[in-house]
């Protein structure tokens, strides 16, 4: 069903030149980049076209009026790619500033470290360096190290200050103390003509730690870019109602107050609105936390975030809230911020660790003082202990992998709703598939259209437009220009009912439309088709639909079988169709004609017997089943309700994302374990050695920062492989 798209919210005007950004699918190499840029540059009216190969985003400038986004998108398609309108998110500036400031600190730390090293190496290895020369070199080192160190330490000081102001400690507190003590001690030594200064240790510490942070930020920025790109493929759209019952899909950001919008069953409301027509029930748990459904009718006001659980509603827009644009970037932040069990453990460990680090350093200092080592030596050893016990590696172990894995999933067109889904996907041993819309493409087609009178098709199509069920959508597709049936009420899993010109119309399953006998007869002649029945008054008409399996479904099933997963199809569709699909795909276990509560019971039973189930489903009647499974995936064609219930959503017409998601998460899970071991072993070895006094601040700085870089680099392995 093609709806009109309104692009004006995406276009930015600067005088006579219009600018718009697109996200382009299918770009893999430099050849693609030059093809697109040259192809667009050749269009009349286009003044500039530049594709960012890293983020796959295209920026086009053109003379206002010469052409429009539609022509640009068509040109890109003719070149073999697909362009999607894209709104550069406002959130980006804060993140970009963070990365830029880290890079600047890194550059200054690097400059300082290397120049101070110049002098330090001379001091260490100069055989007969004179007392004055050494003092001179120390002073010059101080001159370089102080401004550089102060600038480069800012990220740590700021973070530590923030934590302390909230009366808690994070890992930057011991680091800040370590840096300050090291530089302070070195200054003292320089001023009193001592033999050892440790400026290079402090700078080296900062340099390597900042390297780790920069890597981490870059990975986050990359994952965020992917997430935003992918989320722009399913833009937040609203159905604006025009006169005559026709609905137009418009991006949410273009809505204006006073417009009439249609909120279908399963849709989420993106703006504040007042109900004009329709009555039913809504879920406001996202706003109030109340899980009980709220009854609404004409005149009631609903807020953005409300989910429609009942009949379709027509609303008047009262207030457009700032949603869609920032939502895309928020998606990833939210997903990655949610804590998994292992992460929560690491978090707690890191929390008590900081005080433990301080305590260890303090005790070491006191211990050595009591052994008679003198203030200088004791302080140096204590500083080494402080630096080397810092749990940076432990704190990075899991988030680093989550970010990289999240980025990989996003680039495979899988949108994570929850970060902990990564772990749960790794633990799966059984995969349960829904059939319609999941194993098959969401659009089946009507095959007996020529046997039915046109006005019946028109009415059925009209009814079909009021439902989200894939079969209903297919019926609606039989006559795209049919307006939506007013006052239609959906019974999820069964059908749609409406009153038209005094007669009751029903579109739905055989049981819902009173067509059992007809159904049994048709089943014999069409064992593998799907049926939906249209009842007008007393007459019943069958609508026979055939579904196509997703193009790569067979390979994906074979892949899953080869990896030893138990596969099951649970379908609400009848047995014949389900069996045919199962045989074609090579799945041994399947059940047809399942009612929603039967699916839930089946999954709960499997879970109770200790299996970890991945449920892949899309329909309205799957949403509770999705929640009951250990982890769930939903295709993007599903209702918003199912999309929110699922742990992750995948885009596109292929089933491959299911296999890709499992492989990516298994690798990620393994890497998280590896990282935790790395961090723990490092600490177990390093801390005793430091306490016993065998470690200088320089070695401590190197060891600690290298351990956290190792953890970060290990996390990068999550980008590919299984």
């Amino acid at each position: 069903m093609r709806h009109e798209r309104d692009f004006s919210p995406y276009i930015r005007l600067e005088g006579e030149i219009a600018h718009m950004d697109f996200m382009v699918e299918g770009v893999h190499c430099a050849g693609c980049m030059s093809k697109i840029e040259k192809g667009l540059g050749a269009l009349e009216g286009v003044s500039a076209a530049r594709l960012n190969l890293g983020t796959k985003r295209l920026g086009v400038d053109w003379h206002k009026g010469a052409l429009g986004p539609k022509e640009i998108m068509e040109k890109v398609e003719s070149l073999g790619f697909k362009a999607h309108p894209f709104l550069p998110e406002k959130l980006k500036s804060a993140e970009k500033a963070e990365l830029a400031s880290l890079l600047r600190a890194l550059a200054v730390a690097g400059f300082g470290m290397m120049n101070v090293m110049l002098f330090s190496v001379s001091v260490w290895f100069g055989h007969d360096i004179g007392h004055e020369t050494r003092e001179l070199f120390h002073w010059i080192s101080a001159l370089i190290a102080l401004p550089c160190g102060l600038y480069a330490a800012m990220p740590f000081f700021k973070s530590a200050a923030r934590a302390l102001s909230k009366r808690t400690t994070n890992m930057d507190v011991p680091i800040s103390i370590g840096i300050t003590l090291t530089i302070g001690l070195s200054l003292y030594e320089t001023a009193t003509g001592g033999h050892h200064a440790y400026f290079e240790s402090a700078l080296m510490l900062m340099f390597f730690l900042l390297t780790g942070r920069v890597l981490d930020q870059m990975m986050r920025a990359r994952a965020r870019d992917f997430a935003v790109n992918v989320a722009s493929l399913r833009p937040q759209m609203a159905r604006v109602m025009l006169d005559g019952g026709v609905s137009v899909e418009t991006p949410v950001s273009a809505l204006e107050t006073g417009q009439k919008i249609l909120l279908m069953n399963g849709d989420g409301l993106a703006v504040d609105g007042r109900v004009l027509e329709g009555a039913g029930e809504v879920d406001v748990s996202l706003l109030t936390g109340e899980s009980a459904l709220l009854k609404v009718g004409a005149g009631d006001t609903l807020q953005a975030g409300t989910l429609n659980m009942g009949a379709n509603l027509v609303l008047e827009v009262i207030r457009v809230t700032d949603t869609s644009v920032d939502k895309a970037a928020e998606l990833m932040e939210r997903a990655l911020a949610s804590k998994s069990t292992v992460m929560a453990m690491a978090d707690r460990a890191a929390k008590i660790y900081a005080p433990v680090v301080h305590l260890a350093a303090l005790l070491t200092f006191i211990g050595w003082m009591m052994l008679g080592a003198g203030t200088h030596t004791s302080l140096v050893i204590a500083i080494s202990v402080l630096i080397i016990t810092c749990p940076c590696a432990l704190g990075l172990a899991i988030p680093a992998v989550q970010v990289v894995a999240g980025g990989r999933l996003f680039s495979d067109r899988i949108i994570l709703n929850r970060g902990e889904a990564i772990e749960r996907l790794a633990e799966v041993d059984t995969v349960v598939f829904d059939k319609t819309g999941t194993l098959t493409l969401a659009e089946p087609s009507l095959i007996n259209a020529d046997e039915l009178p046109p006005h019946i098709i028109a009415l059925a199509a009209s009814m079909g437009r009021a439902s989200r069920h894939p079969l209903a959508i297919a019926v609606a597709g039989a006559m795209p220009q049919a307006p939506i049936m007013a006052g239609a009420r959906e019974f999820p899993g069964e059908g749609v009912e409406a009153v038209y010109e005094g007669e009751t119309l029903r579109l739905g399953s055989a049981a819902f439309s009173g067509a059992k006998a007809l159904h049994d007869k048709l089943l014999e002649s069409h064992p593998d088709a799907s049926f939906i029945y249209f009842k007008k008054g007393e007459e019943v008409y069958p609508l026979i639909l055939s579904q196509r399996l997703r193009p790569d479904a067979r390979q994906v099933v074979a892949g899953l079988n080869a990896r030893g997963y138990r596969l099951i199809i649970l379908s609400g569709d009848q047995w014949g169709a389900t069996e045919k699909a199962a045989i074609t795909l090579g799945i041994e276990e399947f059940q047809g004609a399942m009612l929603p509560h039967e699916k839930i019971a089946f999954i709960k039973d499997m879970e109770a017997r200790g299996h970890k189930v991945l449920m892949v489903g899309d329909g309205l009647n799957d949403a509770p089943a999705l929640a009951a499974a250990h982890v769930s995936l939903s295709p993007v064609t599903a209702a918003e309700l199912a999309q929110n219930a699922a742990d992750a959503v995948f885009l596109g017409a292929e089933l491959a994302p299911v296999l890709k998601a499992i492989e990516a998460c298994k690798k990620a899970h393994r890497l998280m374990r590896e990282n935790l071991w790395l961090a723990v072993i490092y600490n177990i070895i390093a801390v005793p050695i430091a306490i016993l006094g065998y470690v200088t601040p320089l070695v401590a700085a190197a060891a600690m920062s290298i351990s956290s870089i190792l953890v970060t680099l290990n996390a990068l392995r999550a980008r590919k492989g299984a």
Partner: protein, 51 residues
Amino acid sequence: MTMLIYLIPIALFLGGLGLFGFMWALKSGQYNDLEGDAWRAIMDDEEDKDN
């Protein structure tokens, strides 16, 4: 040894130049699209483009 009086400031100055260079490159957005810019440098221009 007195050479150091000249050499050290020179070394620091040159290092500083490098630092400023990096800051400027960062600010002017040269790190935004490393992949694309790398390929752009070696792509062939079409014959009809004026050089």
